[in-house]
């Protein structure tokens, strides 16, 4: 087991290094350079001195090799430099918003686990009955409904509902307050985006639970358990579900990593000041240093989530670590 974990951890570094190289060179594909583009984008007369100052400030007057070493050295120390738009350190900008996005991501994950595993189980046990069809339609709809539209619909519903019931339209909270300071306020702000994101996420996990469980239910040991006269409930919960959980864990893990992507749109809809919104702002404002830092953050989260999933998988299924 330890050997497997060490091997798996060592695999993380080439991927991160590769991603860093890719991100670094991708932004060097831009014709001219970032400074020229920024200044030209502002439409004003391009001042050579300001251009040079900007280049010196970002370090892009150096040779590409030194720039790359600088970039990598910065990454190792979590120093991404300054945001080109706000002028603040990028680590500060990210730190401000990290907590909110992480909370929404965790809530969405919990929500989807609570929904998907029971639904997927029912759907598999009652395969090809009307219950199964209802669950499957519900989960396909989750994949088809864009999370930003679901968000808009939730807001619409809340507005109309509160207006007609309380006479006063619901006002979405604006300032983020950590959950331990004011849990009620915090929840009233974040529960809706978590729902909108989590529904889509649960759809994938439900489908996975269903197909994994269906496969396991065809195994010989399930037939043996039935032949022994065990209660169907025991067979499903103790024998089948445990083995069906493996692919589900993977899907939940991978989707968690992709949640960061999902948050890009959801945060926009609910006007939450999180990492996703920051990313959109960075792209809109041509803030390349911030874009590159955020891409690295997302990839790092993805790679480490995958690592955790793989280790969990090996722990759950001993066959894997001996391969």
């Amino acid at each position: 087991m330890y050997e497997y974990i060490v091997k798996r951890i060592l695999l993380v570094f080439p991927t991160l290094l590769g991603a860093a190289i890719l991100v670094f060179f991708l932004l060097r594909l831009i014709p001219g350079d970032v400074c020229e583009l920024r200044m030209a984008g502002e439409g004003a007369f391009v001042d050579e001195e300001a251009l040079d100052a900007c280049r010196a400030n970002l370090g892009i007057d150096q040779s590409i090799f030194i720039q790359f070493v600088d970039f990598m050295w910065g990454l190792i120390r979590f120093d991404f430099g300054l945001s080109m738009w706000s002028g603040q350190p990028i680590v500060y900008e990210i730190g401000l918003r990290f907590e909110l996005s992480l909370q929404v991501a965790i809530m969405a994950t919990l929500f989807s686990i609570i929904i998907s595993i029971p639904l997927g189980t029912i759907s598999a046990v009652k395969a090809d009955t009307w219950i199964d069809y209802v669950v499957r339609t519900f989960s396909i709809a989750g994949i088809a409904i864009p999370s930003f539209w679901l968000g808009i619909l939730i807001i619409l519903f809340l507005l109309i509902f509160t207006q007609s019931w309380f006479g006063v339209a619901w006002m979405p909270p604006i300032q983020y307050v950590p959950i331990w300071v004011d849990p009620w306020y915090n929840m009233s702000m974040l529960i809706w985006p978590a729902l909108a994101t989590g529904y889509r996420y649960s759809a994938v996990a439900t489908r996975m639970t269903r197909s994994a469980l269906l496969e396991v239910l065809r195994e010989d040991y399930v037939r043996t358990a039935r032949a022994k006269g065990l209660l169907e409930k025991v067979i499903i919960n103790r024998h089948a579900l445990k083995n069906a959980m493996l692919p589900v864990v993977t899907v939940i893990g991978i989707e968690f990593a992709f949640l960061m992507g999902g948050l890009v749109v959801t945060e926009q809809v609910f006007n939450l000041n999180g990492l996703g919104k920051l990313f959109v702002e960075a792209v809109t404002n041509n803030d390349y240093s911030l874009t590159q830092a955020l891409v690295m953050v997302v990839v790092t989260i993805f790679v480490f989530t995958n690592l955790v999933v793989d280790i969990l998988y090996a722990w759950l299924d001993p066959r894997i670590r001996y391969n």
Binding site: I30, P31, P146, W149, G262, V295, F302
Partner: protein, 304 residues
Amino acid sequence: MATASGSLVGSKSEDIAERTPWSAVLGDLIRRKPLGAAGGLIVIVMVVSGVFAPLIAPFDPVVNDYANPHVAPNLTNLMGTDQFGRDILSRIIYGARTALLIGFISAFVGAFSGLVLGVASAYFGGLFDMVLQRFMDIVMAFPLIILALSMIAVLGPLVDNDVLLVILAITIPFIPRCARVVRSSALAIREIPYVDAARACGFSHIRIILRHMTPNVMAPFLIMITAFVGQAILLEASLSYLGLGVQEPIAAWGLMLQGGAEEYAESAPWIAVFPGLAITLAVFGFSLFGDALRDTLDPKLRSQ
């Protein structure tokens, strides 16, 4: 409807022999996959309204009518009008054109590039395969929308046309996703003797890849394309919603939800409801159709 799937013993009607395999597949689809056929119907409706948009749409989708903003759905404007007085139904019909154009081009180009790369990777093997696969692994570590947005950031200054920019930003993330799937199918095909035979005949690598191996990985390729079209439509809508995709005044579903939708949510909810419904139906249609296609073309994948 007669039994179709080729070698199976079906009804005795003589038209079976004359049928092309394609119509056989289609007949099979409708009979055994009602959901898939429903998906196919949605796709057809969408294609028809996209292609014949100028004939179907009751109004011009881009002409503002400041005298009639926020008109509730009625007999003239079946889905009401938006904040600029434009007819929402007409914009949705024209929006199908935008969505399909971007969806099909990016799905096809992305999947085809992935196909060639995947087959080549499996065929050559060795160092080429390893380097390419590690590169693909790295690209796959970027969530779809993050990669698309990064592409917009990088390519934005290079490409003037916003529709082309969106197509490029959506196409590139698809390539490794298709290459992966195709490679694993192609690996199995490479071991079949006819590839060795083709090499013994002295055919060029390109000829073997394109003429001998590619046709045999068509099933996963077609499945990927249908899946991609749905994803591309969703991605285009998300990008346009964020203001980084298709720009006004082009009619695009995501764009219709942007800005106006939330501001006028209470007074004019139809602005927010109908375009989202169109996106959902389109993606729903393509996934149902794609699922049925997968089951029909590749029974090995059925249980997934």
